[in-house]
Amino acid sequence: MTKLVFALAGACMFLATVPVWAHHSFAAEFDPQKPIKLTGTVTEMEWINPHSWIHIDVKGSDGKVTSWMVEGGSPNALLRRGFTKESLPAGAVIMIEGYQAKDGSNRANGRDITFADGRKLFLGSAGTGAPDEKTGEK
């Protein structure tokens, strides 16, 4: 048996199917006319499904602190790569670009999340840090 293995740098698979987020009506939850940019300190990350949620405290220019919750993706793939519930500790400073909830509450869809130094959260644009998910060649 010959098995050819290709590691395709920068490759991605585009499947012409229904978008994976069709199950979740983001359109109902967040407002594309309400873009937001937040910088805040992590107070808690909920490593839950169907979506993870990052809670941050945001200090306004007036010094007042408000709490926001920011929606992310299912954590299962991260957990398989060796990330843990301690991987985003309280106190970390992160920056969020996204869209605010339609009902005006302090909730946002975290489209881009970075640390203060510009590094993207978790995997960013390339597998970083934690071990890769492996196929089970036994």
């Binding site: 048996m1 585009f14 012409a16 169907p50 954590p75 793939a77 398989r80 339609k102 998910e133």
Partner: protein
Amino acid sequence: MSNRFLASFCAAAAATVAFAFIASAPAAAQTTGSTALFAKEGAKTWTPPRTPDGVPDLQGVYTNSTQVPLERPKNVGAKEFYTREEAEALMKKAAETHEVVAPGTYGDVHYSMAQFGLEKGQSAIAESLRTSLIIGATGRVPDLLPEARTRQAARAAANKGHEFDGPENRGLAERCIIWGAEGPPMLPIGYNSNLQIVQGKGYVAIMQEMIHDVRIIPTDGRTHVASSVHELLGDAVGHWEGDTLVVDTTNFTDRTAFRGSGEDLHVVERFTKVDPNTVRYQFTVEAPHTWAEPWSAEIPMTKIDGPIFEYACHEGNYGMPNNLSGARAEEKKLAEKK
């Protein structure tokens, strides 16, 4: 804000992924490795080990994630398999395709899939050179019968204007009740497309990560439950034919409506372990009030390290109250304009 590429389809994170393709053409009589996926029925293949009660051991954690679409692109015609070169070229083209998403549109309202490792290319994929999961001359789902179209239209009409009245008006997946791809038949899903097979005396259990549901399939020869009983996953009974587990499922509700079908859906699945790392999964579906003829598909499953991580869905479903709250806010806004 500048335009941004839809990161969910083209993240560089896929550098970590290896795509494995078989080297031989589908008709080859090779009997080792996953080329056995394409061996003719009845040809001598690898024999799986047995469980303590003497049936083939299919157990393990698998992914059925694949680059193969369910339906064959129309321009491919009757061809069921690509050559390795063709498949590589297609993948390369897909990697170079970038969808531009404009800010301020609903397409931009999404978290970055790549950051969470949820891009298809960031996880293991089961190999296949098929042009479509659906087998046969067209590789496509048959057209819906007129009565099925009528059923679909009636369902849509009943919900029109009520899409956000309450949780019951939302889809079953949004309510965290069941995922469409669970079936049966079991289809690949965009991420976390994993399942685990566990066997016990007289039973085979299949847990699908999305969404943490277990199909418990008795193999003790019992018949289906009464026709008045309807279940979201249907009622499954299994038996062994040589090294193949055959699962027959009926008694569906009309709520999962697989590809437009309803209570008339009948699914037959066949699971065969063809090498230490591969299960060949085939299914045939028929629904006399939906399609004029049955149709079949074949999806490879490849072993992964696992574990399956619990996808507890309802417990964390902030989305449901958030969606309804958003809908109420929109209604209020519209009312205030009047």
